[in-house]
Amino acid sequence: MVLPEFTLNHLLINSVERYPDKAAVVDGSRSLTYVEILTKANSLASTLKACGIKRGDRVGIYLDKIWEAVVAMLGVSQAGAAFVNINSLLKPDQIRHIMADCQINALIANLSSISTESLPQVHTVLLAGSESPDLSWADSTISLADAMEHDSPDTGAFSASGGDLATIIYTSGSTGRPKGIMLTHQNLVAGAQIISTYLHNTCVDRVLCVLPFSFDYGLNQFTTMMRVGGTAVLQHSLLPGEILKNLRQQDITGLAGVPPLWALLIQIRRSLEREPLTSLRYITNSGGMIPKPHLSVLRKLVPLTKIYLMYGLTEAFRSTYLQPEEIERGPACIGKAIPNTDVWIVDDAGQECRPHEVGELIHRGPTVAMGYWGDEEKTKSVYRPNPFAPLEMMGRDQVVYSGDLVRRDEEGFLYFVGRRDEQIKTGGYRVSPQEVEDLLCEVPWIHEAAAFGRKDPLLGHTIVAVVSLKSGPGGSAEDLRKHCRDRAPRYLMPSDIYILNNLPKTSSGKIDRSALKREFAKSKN
């Protein structure tokens, strides 16, 4: 019997019902069926409960993208607790912040990754790997492998309902410490339903999970596969040889990435031209705009593959997408709202913008998250009453203010303009960093570019650009200035250009603009 989809675990149980022996997760040479995943998740849930984990507790998962991480998320959910994926690239300081901020009660981790310093509120540690270190500060230290092979598996009774907290996703905002965004089971289920619907996912799909589970769209890869009974193939290394191996040998049909992944595929075009990827049905981009020249090369490299451009923010999980047939509209086009969702563009006065007028995107729908963990003030500033709802609803209809500036054309297609707080105002012109970055990326020896404003007493802002070069013959900042002079109006010309070996990346692989800004946007004295 197929169950209604109320929690993450219903997605799993339905797939077990329909495809018990189908591969749910492939991790290197290891392949686990839906039944195996369920059995292990249930055992883990009963171990967690035996250790005192209750409904509503938080369990940290600090693992690489291994199959145990998938079982861990499902086992924690099954126990009624919320899982908190901690990116394995984070440094001890950030990890301690996250663990303390949401008061992690139990931690599932690799030995090598955990500190021997005590974490006061953590009473249970489940360790992946075979070593048994001295963690005397914890009440109990259990081997994760044993916990997943428990003799008396959970009865399968649900300890959670759809409105319960399912996960907290930490994102680094433009300022301050990472903030935890609270997602319910309903949010996760709606995200999986909506995206698997418009990507036409079925049980024959095999998705390559390149993005980390700690990133909302990385998590979504696994939830959509779980919903349709497809296969999630876990990608550990980002080296071209390793990605190509999985794309080919695992007959991958779907690939989700952020712009640097496409830059990497373009770098290895030789192999893709020689041996095209025949099973790859679609790719999806999120987490930033693909530079225009990259998109056109990518389209030629995978001519049979549908390209979906997406836009989302963790606060609302996923938000808009562009149908592959409309790709000619260019990389700035983020399409229209995802199914069962409304988006509006509003001006500073809260009025809906006219076509081509730039305003802030607001989002309403079932993927709107609960808010920021432990930060009511920040929650109130982002999660606000729907300005278009009748007054009699007394603000009970919530929308997310995205902080992203977009414009809409006459046909209703949305175009990304920039972050509200990243918009550059120079000499009376409003400039989006993307315009400057696209301009610089036209130069064939430019690898990546980031632009932002530096406060200036006369102009408001001057434009600062930081670029990295491809290997081989390059050029100088002076050559870049000449290119800008020849190709664009004067106000788009960066006043300062810095050339770096590599642009810093956030843990989810996007260009780390805030780090660059801290380094280069200080006013000159």
Partner: protein, 82 residues
């Protein structure tokens, strides 16, 4: 300079940009976070240019790029074939 030294110099001067860094031939370059995947591609382009041969993207994998020693081995195997 030996092949190994050429690779070491490029990595420390152009990729890691730390002249004082001593990486011996057994340091786990990727696993221990010395090189990102994009830096590895930069290294491949340098090697192709310096030694005048092509490295198939398929060969840019964890096994061949684990350590300075394994990269040097890959380069030597390719240059000897010719």
């Amino acid at each position: 300079m030996t092949v190994l030294e050429i690779i070491r110099t490029f990595i420390s001067e152009n990729l890691i940009k730390d002249h004082n860094l001593s990486i011996n031939e057994n340091v786990q370059l990727i696993e221990d976070g010395y090189l990102t995947s994009l830096q590895t591609i930069e290294l491949v382009m340098f090697l192709e240019d310096r030694f005048q041969f092509e490295i198939d993207p398929e060969l840019v994998n964890e096994e061949n790029f684990r350590t300075l020693g394994s990269i040097a081995e890959l380069v030597q195997s390719r240059t000897e074939v010719r």
